[in-house]
C-alpha cells in the first residue's frame, strides 16, 4: 500500500552533501561514495566531534523541519485556488500532536460549512491539509493542483468543490467521506518532515472513504517535493489511479495494476 517512488538520478540527493568536508586518502573514492547516498557521510571530525559546518548544517535542517511542523500555510496559496478553510477538533498545536484522534474529526461548524458550500456526492473530492508540514503545502500546492486538474480532464473525471482542512490527519478522509459521499477522495497532506526534506507532501486516495475504512484500503503517493517525486508527475499519476479505482470500484491493496 505504501508506494515508494523511485528516486531520480540527476538531482538524486539534492546539493546538501555534495561538498566534501574532509580530505580522505582516496578523494575520488569519497566523491564516488557521496554520489550513492543522501546520508551525511565524509563530514570529518575534530577529536570525536563533527566539524562546525556539519553541525550547523544539521541544525539548520532540523530548524526547517520544526518550522514545517509548527508553521501555518500561506493563505495566498489557498486563495489562489479558491480553497476555503475548515477546522478539525484540535484546540492547540500541542493537542494536535498529542491527540491524532482530534485531527481525524471535523468540527460541527466545519461539517455545516462543507455541507453548505460543497457539491454533494461528487465523483472526485479534492481536500488539502497541512498535516505535519505546512511548508509542504506552500512548496508543492501550486504545482500539484494544476497537474491534478489537468489529469482529471484527460481522464474524463469531474471534481466537486475542493477545500482546505486545518490540522487534518489522514483519516479525516473518512469523516469527510461520510458527509459528502464522494465516489473517490484525494487528500493532499503534509508529511512528517525529515531532515532531507521538510517540504514533502503525500497524496492519500480512497474509494468511497467512510467511517471504519481500513488503512490498507487507501493508496498513497508519498515523497512529493522538488527533490523527490516531482509535483507535476504526481498530479498526473493521481488521475490515472482515480480512473482505475472508479473502474474497479475499490482502492488500496485490492486495486489491480
Amino acid at each position: 500500500m505504501f508506494e515508494k517512488e523511485p528516486l531520480k538520478a540527476p538531482n538524486m540527493f539534492g546539493t546538501k552533501n555534495k561538498r566534501t568536508l574532509i580530505d580522505g586518502v582516496n578523494k575520488a573514492g569519497i566523491e564516488e561514495m557521496l554520489r550513492t547516498t543522501p546520508a551525511r557521510i565524509a563530514v570529518g571530525r575534530t577529536g570525536t566531534r563533527p566539524k562546525t559546518k556539519a553541525i550547523l548544517q544539521f541544525q539548520l535542517d532540523h530548524a526547517a523541519a520544526i518550522d514545517a511542523v509548527s508553521g501555518e500555510v500561506d493563505v495566498s496559496y489557498l486563495e489562489e485556488f479558491d480553497l476555503f478553510s475548515v477546522d478539525t477538533c484540535f484546540e492547540t498545536k500541542e493537542e494536535y500532536l498529542k491527540r491524532p484522534d482530534k485531527g481525524r474529526k471535523l468540527t460541527d461548524e466545519a461539517v455545516k460549512t462543507i455541507k453548505a458550500r460543497c457539491e454533494y456526492r461528487p465523483q472526485v473530492q479534492i481536500v488539502v491539509s497541512d498535516g505535519l508540514s505546512a511548508s509542504a503545502i506552500d512548496t508543492n500546492l501550486e504545482n500539484v493542483l494544476p497537474a491534478l486538474y489537468d489529469s482529471l480532464k484527460v481522464n474524463n473525471l469531474s471534481a466537486g468543490t475542493p477545500f482546505f482542512v486545518k490540522g487534518g490527519r489522514v483519516a479525516c478522509m473518512d469523516h469527510i467521506g461520510e458527509v459528502l459521499q464522494p465516489e473517490v477522495l484525494v487528500l493532499l497532506i503534509g508529511e512528517r518532515p525529515g531532515l532531507v526534506s521538510a517540504n514533502s507532501m503525500s497524496a492519500y486516495i480512497c474509494y468511497r472513504p467512510r467511517f471504519g475504512v481500513q488503512e490498507s484500503n487507501r493508496n498513497v503517493i508519498s515523497n512529493i517535493h522538488p527533490g523527490g517525486t516531482p509535483a507535476v508527475e504526481a498530479g498526473a499519476h493521481i488521475g490515472t489511479l482515480l480512473k482505475k479505482m472508479i473502474k474497479q470500484k475499490t482502492s488500496g491493496v485490492a486495486l489491480a495494476f
Binding site: G24, G29, T36, I41, R45, V69, L97, R99, L195, V196
Partner: protein
C-alpha cells in the same frame, strides 16, 4: 491488597492494580492518550505510595492481562522460578527497590533474584525509581552475549552501524557502513532497515555486508531488519545471516498486528540456529519501544511501561544477542518531549537489564516531537553511565531512510572517550590492527570512509 491512601488531606481509592500501575507512571502522553494516566501530580504520587507498599505476591496474584487470554502472560508466568519467588514474594515493591540499590545486591545476587521476578514486578519497581536510581541499579548489571563475538562486557560500549538508504542502494549502504567503521562503530551489529521487504532484497544486503565483514575480517555480525518471515525466506534461499530480527509487542494482540506469535518465533529460532552463519549461541536481535501496543489498539488499558517490560519477558525466551528499545521513534502522542523520552530510555534500559537482556537503546526523536539533538546527547551520556550495551550509529544522526534522528558515529566515539569506555575487545583489536585506534583513542586515519573504499576499489 491495599488500594487506598490518605495523602495531603485527600483520600485516594484505586479500583485495581491496573489503575495503580498506570497512575504511578511518570507523565507520558501515551498513557494520557489511552485515558489511563494520573490526572495530576498528587494522584500520581498517591499511586506511587500505594504501589510501593504492595507485595510482589500482590502483583503476581492480580494479573493485568489474564494468562488464559494472552500467550505473553502465559509465557511470563511459566518462566518464574518458584523457589526464588517463594523467597521474595512477601517483599514490598519499596523493599525490592532498596535491595537493588543496596551494596548487598551484587551481580550474582541480581542474577538469582531475576529468576523470581515477573515483567510486571520489574515494571512496578521502575515506577517508584528516580532517573538516577535507574542508572545506578542498571550500572551494576552487565549482560554478556555471544554471536560471532561477545558484547556487553563491563567498560565496553558497542555501536550498531545503521547504514540505511532511502532506496536500498547497495553501494550507498556500503558507503555509510564505511563511514561507521572509520569511527570505530559496528561492533554490536551491522544492521540495515530495508525499504523493500522482499527475500531477494534482504539477501542482497546480507550478501554485501557479509562480503565487507569477510574481506576486512571484521569481528562483528550482520542483520537485515525486515519482517521475520521475509528473513526466513532469504535464509532458506541461502542468504548469509548471522542474526535474525523481529520487533516485539508486549501482548499477544500487539504481536498479531506485527504478524508474529510465539510459534512463529520458535520456528525462526530453530532456523537461525541451523541455517544461520554465526558461530555463537545468541542469534536474535529484537526491537521494542513504549507505545507500540496502544498504537495497534492491543494494550488492554495497561500502561506503556508495563507493556514494554512484558516485551522483555517475551524476548528472554530466545536468549537474544542484542535487544534495542527504539525509544523516541513512535512520536509525540506516546512520548511528547525530551523529558519523556529520556525517562523512557532509562526505564527501558533498566527493565531489560534486570530481566537479563543485553540492552541497547536507539536514542532518538522525530521532528514533530519537542526534542532536539542536544537532548539525545544528554540521554546518550546518561545511558553510557548506566552501562548500556550499545547505541545506534547513523551518519550525523540523520537517518535518511527512516526520517528520524538518532545518535551519530561521532556520538558513540564521544561517549566512549568521555566516560572511558572501549569498543568490544575483539573489535578494538581489529581497529588497532588497521591503524584506526590506539590505546582506546581514534588515530589520524579514523573518520575517513575512503580508507575502506580504497581497498575495495583496488580489489575490484
Amino acid at each position: 491488597m491495599i488500594k487506598k491512601i490518605r495523602l495531603l488531606n485527600d483520600t485516594y481509592l484505586f479500583k485495581d492494580l491496573k489503575e495503580i500501575m498506570a497512575k504511578a507512571n511518570e507523565e507520558k502522553s501515551g498513557d494520557q492518550l489511552a485515558g489511563i494516566a494520573a490526572c495530576d501530580a498528587k494522584e500520581r504520587l498517591a499511586a506511587k505510595h500505594v504501589l510501593a507498599d504492595l507485595t510482589l505476591a500482590d502483583i503476581r496474584n492480580h494479573p493485568l492481562i489474564p494468562p488464559e487470554n494472552d500467550e505473553v502472560s502465559r509465557l511470563i508466568e511459566e518462566q518464574v522460578d518458584e523457589r526464588v519467588y517463594e523467597f521474595i514474594s512477601n517483599w514490598t515493591v519499596a523493599e525490592l527497590r532498596e535491595f537493588l540499590l543496596s551494596e548487598m545486591a551484587r551481580p550474582p545476587d541480581i542474577e538469582r533474584l531475576r529468576l523470581g521476578l515477573t515483567s510486571e514486578m520489574v515494571a512496578a519497581v521502575t515506577k517508584i525509581m528516580t532517573n538516577m536510581d535507574l542508572i545506578q541499579a542498571a550500572s551494576k548489571i552487565s549482560v554478556e552475549t555471544t554471536c560471532n563475538h561477545t558484547i556487553g562486557q563491563k567498560g565496553c560500549l558497542a555501536g550498531r552501524a545503521q547504514p540505511n538508504h532511502p532506496s536500498d542502494h547497495i553501494m550507498g549502504i556500503r558507503a555509510s557502513l564505511y563511514e561507521a567503521l572509520a569511527y570505530g562503530v559496528g561492533d554490536a551489529v551491522i544492521g540495515i532497515n530495508p525499504v523493500i521487504d522482499t527475500a531477494e532484497s534482504v539477501k542482497s544486503i546480507l550478501t554485501m555486508t557479509k562480503e565487507v565483514i569477510d574481506s576486512w575480517a571484521i569481528p562483528t555480525q550482520n542483520c537485515v531488519l525486515a519482517h521475520v518471515t521475509t528473513q526466513m525466506r532469504a535464509i532458506k534461499d541461502g542468504a548469509p545471516a548471522d542474526l535474525i530480527f523481529q520487533s516485539l509487542g508486549g501482548t499477544e494482540l500487539a504481536n498479531q498486528s506485527f504478524g508474529i506469535d510465539i510459534k512463529l518465533l520458535d520456528e525462526a529460532d530453530e532456523l537461525i540456529h541451523t541455517e544461520g552463519t554465526a558461530q555463537g549461541p545468541n542469534r536474535w536481535y529484537f526491537e521494542t519501544g513504549q507505545g507500540s501496543e496502544l498504537s495497534s489498539d492491543a494494550h488492554h488499558l495497561v500502561d506503556q511501561v508495563t507493556l514494554e517490560s512484558r516485551c522483555y519477558g517475551l524476548a528472554k525466551r530466545y536468549k537474544p544477542f542484542i535487544v534495542n528499545t527504539v525509544v523516541g521513534f513512535i512520536g509525540p502522542e506516546y512520548l511528547y518531549d525530551s523529558k519523556q523520552v529520556i525517562r523512557a530510555g532509562l526505564e527501558d534500559h533498566f527493565m531489560g537489564k534486570l530481566q537479563g537482556l543485553p540492552m541497547g537503546v536507539d536514542v532518538c526523536y522525530t521532528n514533530h516531537m519537542k526534542a532536539d539533538q542536544n537532548d539525545m546527547e544528554n540521554l546518550a551520556i546518561l545511558l553510557g553511565s548506566a552501562g548500556v550495551n550499545f547505541l545506534i550509529g547513523v551518519p550525523m544522526a540523520d537517518d535518511c531512510m527512516l526520517n528520524y534522528q538518532s545518535t551519530s558515529f561521532h556520538d558513540i566515539a564521544s561517549v566512549r572517550d568521555i566516560l572511558g569506555l572501549r569498543p568490544t575487545p575483539a573489535f578494538e583489536a581489529w581497529l588497532e590492527k588497521n591503524g584506526l585506534m590506539e590505546n582506546g583513542k581514534l588515530t589520524k586515519y579514523a573518520g575517513d570512509p575512503s580508507f575502506f573504499h580504497q581497498k575495495t576499489t583496488l580489489q575490484a
